[in-house]
């Protein structure tokens, strides 16, 4: 089994003119973890991850204090929303370069890449570099574990 066999091939992408707020709506409606950003010709120019949006809401102390056991209630942090002005910025301000995996890659190789780069979703490309799908840790994990009970050991 390779990545092509477990990826989601109906890729949801957003144009580069999308605002952060609009992208958030797409994340909510489509229940995905990653959105490729495409230019007018449909060519992917980067990706935006759900985590990048969540970081906007995360308090600063999370990066400064290692052990948060003693904090039982995040108080005002839980109800602080990012400013309207920030949400109306184009997604390109948060966009990251594409780190893609080839559709012919093995499952564990792809999973190891995710672990090392601390990613949860990867865009999948074909031999010509064209975006053909996205794959998540859960997609790969489910595919790998399914092989344990399967008689057909590909």
């Amino acid at each position: 089994m390779v990545i092509r066999d477990c990826m989601k091939s109906n890729v949801v992408s957003v144009p580069s003119t999308t605002t952060i707020l609009e992208a958030a709506t797409v994340f909510v409606e489509r229940h995905v973890g990653i959105l490729p950003v495409v230019d007018e010709s449909g060519k992917p120019i980067g990706v935006i991850r759900m985590g990048d949006l969540l970081t906007l809401e995360l308090p600063d102390f999370v990066h400064l204090v290692q052990d948060l056991d003693f904090v039982h209630d995040f108080g005002a942090v839980e109800t602080t929303r990012p400013s309207r002005q920030l949400l109306l910025q184009p997604v390109t301000t948060l966009m990251k370069p594409i780190q893609a995996i080839e559709e012919t890659s093995g499952l564990l190789r792809a999973y190891a890449r995710m672990l090392q780069d601390n990613l949860y979703d990867l865009p999948v490309v074909d031999a010509s570099g064209k975006l053909v799908g996205v794959v998540s840790r859960v997609d790969i994990g489910a595919a790998v574990l399914s092989l344990w009970s399967s008689k057909d050991k590909k």
């Binding site: 102390f61 400064l64 056991d69 904090v71 039982h72 995040f74 108080g75 005002a76 602080t80």
Partner: protein, 430 residues
Amino acid sequence: MNLPALLAAIVFLISLVLIFTEKLHRTIVGVAGAALMVLLGRILGFYSESEAIAAIDFNTLGLLLGMMILVSLLEPTGFFQYLAVWAGRMSKGKPVRLLILLGTVTTLVSMFLDNVTTVVLIAPITILISEILGINPAPLLMTEAILSDTGGVATLVGDPPNVLIGSAAGLSFLDFILYAMPIVVAAWVVALFLLRFLFRRELAVRPKKIKAIMQLNPAEALNDRQTARRVLIVLGAAILFFFVEHLLEISPAFVALSAAALALVWVKPDVKKMLERIEWSVLLFFAALFVMVGGLQASGALTSVIRLIETIDQLPPALFGVLIIWVVAGLSAVVDNVPITIAMIPVILGLGADGIPTAPLWWALAFGAGFGGNGTIIGSTANIVVATLSEKTHTPITAKLWNKRGLPVMLATCAAASLLYILAYPLYLR
């Protein structure tokens, strides 16, 4: 001024400018400057290698190292976080009370332990408390840096210039408690009231999420209760010995290093990790500066400065001390106060050799070096630490903000210190 004096002065001044502009790390500047000074000394024959080694004040280095080891053992226990969380709870979410409590805790700890470490560990919890309350952390962070720097002047071990002055002038821990602490306490109170006034608008907000603050559990912030208890017992014993060091005829360095040894034996830490937390760059910087200023002295450059001071020394002695407070404070606001102090020490010793009573001048140097750092965002390492941390928040502390809120505090503390200095002058003559 002869050639060796001129060249030595140039090396020292260029080093100061490089430290000021931060083009190079101060330790690199120090080591390079020290090497250059010894090289000049050997070529022109004014400074030998053995003189350079002798110029290093090992009492200062030993005291700093001993205290750094104690801090490095205490750091991972969560003790500092415990104190900050405790202060947060005690404040019941009231911003003014939070400012006073966090400022006081930071000051009390930094009177005995390195204030940079104290601020590095308390500032993140301060940001946490502020964000949970939904208030601006900048006033609290600036107050912590300014009050800990101010309070540190009260004890021999409170800040590096005091360690240097105590060692050079033979002043004991008790001398600092008797002669510096009263004035420092007054200046500290002035600083606190002024900060409370300057930040009155930021502190006027009423946080809504007070319940969340009361949910913070200090005991859970203390990761290693046993180690914390052991190090604090040793630290307490060390402080008691500091009080009687002059009676026992032992040096503060001996007390600090013995305490460090005892704590190491008792705690048995992972040595490699413990040593990583020691600020070797600071120790190296000090050693290099001693070598550099030793060369400056051997070259005769400082003698010229001493003669110059003596010709303008028509002032009443108390006013001359006040002048030292302000000149040193002005310099310390823009350059690191350690090189200023190390350079001033031989000057004051020289004045003493010429029969001028120096006892009061040491205190003027301590006040100027200590309070001067409050004036600018780069005035002290603690200031730089809180400013850097605040850059990661939504309300970063800018140089402009510091000039508006920190500079008045520096001027007020120096003014308070000057006034009390004049009143206390007869006592300083002993």
